[in-house]
């Protein structure tokens, strides 16, 4: 069996991840930050260790500015709904996932937020000069995905970050596809808000993610999405006004965060640069194998150095869903088919509304799997031609 759907969720995980979750469930189990007994404190320490690991990976100096939540979608919603006020203007790209586009369209309807969209190339790339040209005097925020979930194209976040600082605009980055797979440095890349998910390249379980809040964003500038118990300021009926508590109401997914901590530690120990080099190597082989099959169209820049380990393609004359079914049933190969929750990106690369077949590799993928998957596509495409 070949699992090539790591852009949806990574699998398998390093064994340390389920082990850490099992250890928490069997030996700790308590509610972090609520009580003062040893198990509660131990649970709190574990959550803190995960905060610290995430902060180290993204070069954020204060671990307490890592706010945990369910996933990147929740983190993006917190940043967008928390910061954008009626009449504000926001700039985004034409390669975004619905985790950005749907909150923006809702903000447009409900708060009259003005949404500007800068067009990317048909390979999925953004020219930072185009982003700068699209800024208006009243633009408050730029929100960009670091890499496309459809074709893997990496957007010039650091260049846009520099431009954002020059124009005194906030930069929110959707790092769902890159956190753990591609170097991310909030300081060097001038990222003000970084939304990450725990269950993709950070190799943690589903139901974990968060928002890293840079120093340029003040607590009073971002409203929480929800209010409730935090284990702090319990005498008050008003929400606390300090990070992370003000954004973390309710008991967290502590068992998930135990697993996320182990996943992030795996990434730190192996090294993002090493993981990146491994994925570039595999992606280069995958692209080279697919482009030489007659009848196969591969989308994106076709350059492994310019993208993540996500490759979209189609086979001439076959619907993506048919290809996906044959890959699964006849070749034991898992892919994603269709629009990948990113209609804007598919319009940009010219594959809307049919979509594509998507192979997405991960840190634990192998060259043998790439070779076998290419062979499977060749058989399907050749069978079609015969």
């Amino acid at each position: 069996m070949i699992y090539f759907d790591n852009a949806a969720t990574s699998w398998p995980k390093p064994t340390a991840v389920p082990e850490a979750m099992s250890r928490f469930m069997l030996a700790v189990g308590a509610n972090p930050g609520r009580s003062a007994h040893r198990l509660s404190i131990e649970a709190g320490r574990m959550v803190y260790e995960t905060r610290e690991a995430v902060a180290r990976l993204f070069n954020l100096s204060d671990p307490l500015r890592v706010v945990f939540g369910l996933n990147a979608t929740e983190a993006l919603n917190l940043a967008l709904w928390g910061i954008l006020c009626p009449g504000d203007r926001v700039l985004t790209s034409s390669m975004e996932h619905n985790s950005v586009m749907r909150p923006l369209r809702a903000l447009e309807r409900e708060r009259s937020v003005k949404v500007d969209i800068v067009r990317c190339s048909s390979e999925g790339f953004l020219d930072a000069d185009d982003a700068e040209a699209a800024l208006r005097a009243d633009t408050k925020m730029i929100v960009l995905n670091h890499a496309s979930n459809v074709v893997g194209s990496v957007l010039p976040v650091a260049e846009v970050g520099r431009i954002a600082r020059e124009h005194d605009v906030l930069l929110l980055v959707d790092a769902a596809q890159t956190a753990g797979a591609y170097p991310l440095d909030m300081g060097a890349m001038a990222i003000d808000l970084l939304a990450f998910t725990g269950h993709k390249a950070l190799l943690g379980p589903q139901g974990t993610g968060g928002l890293c809040i840079g120093e340029r964003v003040q607590e009073n500038e971002m409203r929480p999405l929800k209010q409730g118990g935090t284990g702090s300021r319990s005498a008050s009926e008003q929400q606390p006004s300090f990070i992370p508590d003000m954004y973390e109401s309710g008991t967290p997914n502590t068992v998930g965060l135990a697993g996320l901590g182990a996943g992030v530690q795996y990434v730190i120990d192996r090294g993002v640069e090493e993981i990146r080099a491994h994925e570039v190597h595999l992606t280069r082989g995958l692209i080279a194998g697919l482009v030489e099959i007659p009848g196969v169209i591969v989308y994106g820049g076709l350059d492994a150095e310019m993208q993540t380990a996500t490759v979209s393609f189609n086979i001439d004359g076959l619907a993506p869903s048919e290809v996906g079914l044959m890959l699964d049933e006849e070749h034991g190969t898992m892919s994603r088919v269709g629009l990948d929750c990113a209609p804007a990106a598919h319009r940009t690369i010219g594959t809307f509304p049919v979509g594509t077949v998507r192979f997405s590799l991960g840190a634990l993928s192998t060259t043998d799997e790439v070779d076998a998957a290419v062979e499977a596509v060749r058989e399907i495409a050749t069978g079609r031609a015969a």
């Binding site: 972090p32 930050g33 609520r34 009580s35 003062a36 007994h37 404190i41 709190g44 320490r45 959550v47 803190y48 905060r51 610290e52 100096s61 204060d62 671990p63 307490l64 935090t230 284990g231 702090s232 300021r233 319990s234 005498a235 606390p240 300090f242 992370p244 508590d245």
Partner: protein
């Protein structure tokens, strides 16, 4: 450590208390997270107990690491 020689740092959140504990232990201070004693009040349920003689040094450590605390009280 006799009670009279101990002090506690009080914090507004458990996350800050845990961060303070880790930083202090890494610098070899003898500290322990304990429930907030009933005659003190705090915004969170745990506080960091330390040797009173080390309060100033721990205070500088927390300041340099930008960990905020609410109060320091002698036990």
């Amino acid at each position: 450590m006799a009670e009279s020689e101990c002090s506690v740092f009080l914090f507004s959140s458990t996350s800050a208390a845990i961060r303070a504990e880790k930083l202090a232990m890494e610098s070899d201070f003898k500290v322990k997270l304990i429930p907030v004693p009933r005659h003190l009040s705090s915004d969170c349920g745990v506080c960091l107990r330390c040797d009173s003689a080390e309060v100033d040094a721990i205070r500088s450590l927390l300041e340099s690491s930008r960990v905020e605390w609410e109060n320091v009280r002698r036990l």
